[in-house]
Point group: C2
Chain length 468, copies 2
């Protein structure tokens, strides 16, 4: 007997499979058939973990896989791997797919979930598609990179005593770029990071980005700013041998692209679904595509509301993708759930440097017409006298007229980064920096100075607001 | 020329000297004379750091001193050490003090700050005042204990090869007790902790206390529950040699009392100032003693408002004491500041076990007539595949009718404890657990699973509330 309804999911990673699993919890196979299509060879994996796998910190690929296709199938989800969605017929409520062996067919749906993710930005430069140039967006990408690295160690003959140190060039100094830089440092490579902007981590204000730059240099990561890549130079076999900018050439045994991602929404665009400025799908709070009754979207292929700026933006992070999946699955399953929006939180690290941000940067605050005060403080992660205490810089931005918290950026060492959560919750609650000065945060010498660095920043920000 | 006004501070630690320093920043010596009396030999030190100093993690006593008497004096604060306040004459606006050399005199004030702190609970048991029994409330206490430990190592002849392992008995398994247990473990002692209650850490619910108990046992800290101490047994020289309970005797080379503290308010009580149930002074939000125009109080000698239960309680923590001092100093200095209250946050550790709480326990919620749902989840501190990921248990309590967060308790390993701050801010903001499920918390594999443990707990708590 056919099920009453069919749910079709395009994309078998965080959003898609969370939605499928959550809907399955709420509806039986008699009520709801669930079919999911995944273009690649892996389901439900942590793309965020790829840099640590490449670094050798995660021993094997399968550790990054939260749930295998078999596990999904055993729970009543018909997951088809290596199956690509080619066309979406909204009026006909059907999707054209090409299966692994090449067969194409139309599959009808009652509820459709678009979880097509994002694709790496890959500028159309000479040599960018050469052998030896890698992205790190999917597990397939990561596997290719690791295979290449291991082959080179095995056959390249340069891993022994006296051999030249292998060289990695990372293009882009955003989250992925700095994480991949760390990965190659840990593998013993000489690492060069080329960044077009005048600072690494454009998700930070320039003054905080400068702290990251200084720290990267002291880690022996050559970080070249204002370096726009013009070409990937290849050897006679067509392999990447160097990366060229306008000013110089950087020899490379391996080239990694860390230029960020953009929403993978070609299918949606061709079907006439509503897209935002970034190219991400636009949804309502229930994660339903705007004005489409039975099409849902979430994760890296949508825009989300930034609750601080009140603008939609593209925030491709696994944590949102998982939440979106849960919400879509709950709604399709007959429950009701919403995703109110993000406040722009992100945390990362490069070696022992922790980098975090939430809310708006100065430029973002200015762009939405806010007048603000900003302060930077330096403190320590533990009591000054406690072993293992490390430096932490906290920048805090507050609206001038109201004192409302607008954003926080943190650059520091061990135990610095996750303090951003304090500010993230305060942003959700719409707190003022004055209110933040009396937050009852956990204190004991191994965990914090008696004034937590976030409190110190709040006091200074509150004073700056008062002084007008 | 005499100053226009005189501010007198009783107690030269966190609250008193913060108040003095803040008032001095706002008013010149011509406007405000500031005199402070400290009974002990140290000013502005971290009592919270004493266990780590005893453990040997903090190399020297002076590291615990934020500002010496000389530094305070150089900033225009007339700080008199070893000077005890004996009597307070509220009508006459004066304090009788005994100076170090024994001279007694009356000192008039225009503004008075009571920062008399707390005294350790010391039950009137036989032998409790014997040599070899130590409190750890003041730096003087810590110095006495360390002097004794070092003397024993030097002269006791038991530190060499083949010597019996030295034994420490800690009475009380609250914050101070477990921190002192760790200190003696680190010094190589065999450690026994005797606790009257049926769980360690009465600041946690029994189920979470049980996790602490199990962990302490696996750390080779003998932790005896339901063990009411009846006597400290002494040797022929009057030195403590064992601690007796109703059931057993525990031999001890050193005995440490960790039974908590009570407000040191004898002076205030005799002067007829308003005290709460715990014996702590009652103040308004500006930290002014209730109905007294020019008497202020803060730190370990006052009660504060718990914003979750809406009841006053005694919460002796350095982080509040410092905030109170700032607020009192600002108000005396002609500015305006308030302390809205606490949410009951505390964090501690014993060896690598981190213990944190905020808000109300189940029993506290029941005591104020709240109906609640509570859940416990187990997760990890980092992504499951990331090196150094450790277990974390999060308990979350929410009001049944409204879903409002009431409290969170955390027991886990490295990087578990400070997550309590997320819940602390949510409590300040009056969030529901449903609202918490969509918090935009920092995620990257080295920092958190893709669902932060606090989010997992919030989801489970929200489901429990919905299911009624």
């Amino acid at each position: 007997m056919a099920a009453a309804e069919r749910m079709v999911v395009i994309g078998g990673d965080a959003t898609g499979m969370s939605a499928a699993a959550q809907a399955r919890r709420l509806k039986s196979p008699d009520e709801l058939e669930i079919v999911a299509f995944e273009r690649g060879g892996f389901s439900s994996y942590s793309a965020c973990g790829i840099p640590y796998w490449v670094a050798g910190d995660v021993a094997e690929r399968d550790k990054l896989i939260a749930r295998s296709p078999e596990e999904h199938r055993s729970r009543g989800i018909d997951l088809r791997m290596r199956t690509e969605a080619l066309e979406l017929d909204v009026d006909g409520q059907r999707v054209r797919v090409r299966e692994q062996e090449g067969t194409e067919r139309w599959v009808g749906y009652d509820q459709l979930v678009l979880a097509t993710g994002a694709v790496p930005v890959r500028p159309p430069l000479p040599g960018i598609d050469a052998e030896g140039v890698y992205g790190v967006q999917t597990l397939d990408d990561g596997q290719q990179l690791l295979d290449a690295l291991e082959q080179r160690v095995e056959f390249g003959g340069t891993a022994g005593e006296g051999a030249a140190r292998r060289r990695a060039v990372v293009v882009g100094a955003g989250y992925i770029g700095v994480e991949m830089a760390e990965a190659f440092v840990r593998r013993g490579y000489a690492v060069t990071v080329l960044e077009k902007a005048e600072q690494p981590m454009s998700t930070l204000d320039p003054d905080m980005g400068k702290l990251v730059h200084e720290a990267m240099c002291s880690m022996d990561i050559e970080t070249v700013l204002g370096a726009a890549v013009t070409e990937v130079l290849t050897d006679e076999r067509g392999r990447a041998r160097a990366v060229a900018t306008e000013d110089a050439e950087y020899p490379a045994d391996v080239v990694v692209l860390g230029l960020g991602v953009k929403p993978a929404t070609a299918l949606a665009r061709e079907a006439g679904l509503p897209l935002g400025e970034s190219g991400g799908l636009l949804t309502d709070l229930a994660m339903r595509v705007r004005d489409r009754e039975n099409i849902w979207a979430g994760g890296d292929c949508v825009e989300v509301l930034n609750l601080v700026s009140d603008r939609a933006q593209h925030v491709p992070l696994g944590t949102h993708a998982n939440k979106h999946g849960q919400i879509i699955g709950a709604n399709i399953g007959g429950s009701y759930a919403t995703f109110p929006g993000v406040v722009g939180t992100a945390v990362s690290k490069v070696c022992d440097l922790e980098i975090a941000r939430t809310g708006l940067l100065e430029a973002q605050a200015a762009a939405v017409g806010l007048r603000f005060a900003s302060v930077v403080i330096e403190s320590t992660t533990r009591a000054g006298y406690y072993p293992g205490t490390r430096p932490i810089h906290v920048k805090m931005i507050a609206e001038r007229s109201s004192g409302r918290l607008l954003g926080v950026q943190i650059v520091g060492r061990e135990n610095a980064g996750k303090r951003v959560d304090i500010a993230a919750v305060a942003l959700h609650a719409g707190m003022t920096v004055e209110q933040m000065t009396s937050l009852d945060l956990g204190y004991a010498p191994p965990f914090s100075p008696v004034w937590d660095p976030v409190l110190i920043a709040a006091r200074k920000a509150a004073a700056a607001v008062r002084e007008g």
